[in-house]
Amino acid sequence: AQTVTQSQPEMSVQEAETVTLSCTYDTSENNYYLFWYKQPPSRQMILVIRQEAYKQQNATENRFSVNFQKAAKSFSLKISDSQLGDTAMYFCAALDSGGGADGLTFGKGTHLIIQP
């Protein structure tokens, strides 16, 4: 099992700005997966981006990218050109390669507010 820490309970930026959400994790596994999920006010969690630990290249999905620093066990999410629709809770999650539910751990979340 892992621990996942999100140290920013809430962040607020202006529309069109770039924002970075931080996440650190701790695992004894060598192979694992990292995720960022978004939970808008509708409550439905949506996968934003996924990173496999054995891949050195940072994952990118349109305006969303990660800064994965394996040695530092850091997995931050960068949102470029932020939009009002990006307002949501963002959860970082880690999964070890063994799979199963016990291996999937979520952080406590960061509430991101995009101001018009």
């Binding site: 409550r43 439905q44 016990d102 406590k108």
Partner: protein, 115 residues
């Protein structure tokens, strides 16, 4: 529908009553998860079903909580003798195979309020 469906969307009950929450996963998804999310908090794992294997019940907080799933279909989470501390959003998710396939697909949750 194509997504994970949960019902009821909202449930208000009196302390001591039993409640049943339903989750209809995406067709073909062998894995199903229940999580609890208290107000302003992260996700707390409750129970995990994978195909016909014995479920992982390690997250259930007390014996008042139970869940069933028949094969790879609908799951029901039952909370007996509800307490005010049970008030939360209960989220269900499903995935192809185990969580290491990458993506969990979540429902919109059932908000339970215990008066």
């Amino acid at each position: 529908g194509a997504g994970v469906s949960q019902s009821p969307s909202n449930k208000v009950t009196e302390k001591g009553k039993d409640v049943e929450l339903r989750c209809d996963p995406i067709s073909g998804h062998t894995a199903l998860y229940w999580y609890r999310q208290r107000l302003g908090q992260g996700l707390e794992f409750l129970i995990y079903f994978q195909g016909n294997s014995a479920p992982d019940k390690s997250g259930l907080p007390s014996d008042r909580f139970s869940a069933e799933r028949t094969g790879e279909s609908v799951s029901t989470l039952t909370i007996q003798r509800t307490q005010q501390e049970d008030s939360a959003v209960y989220l269900c998710a499903s995935s192809l195979g185990g969580a290491n396939t990458g993506e969990l697909f979540f429902g919109e949750g059932s908000r339970l309020t215990v008066l």
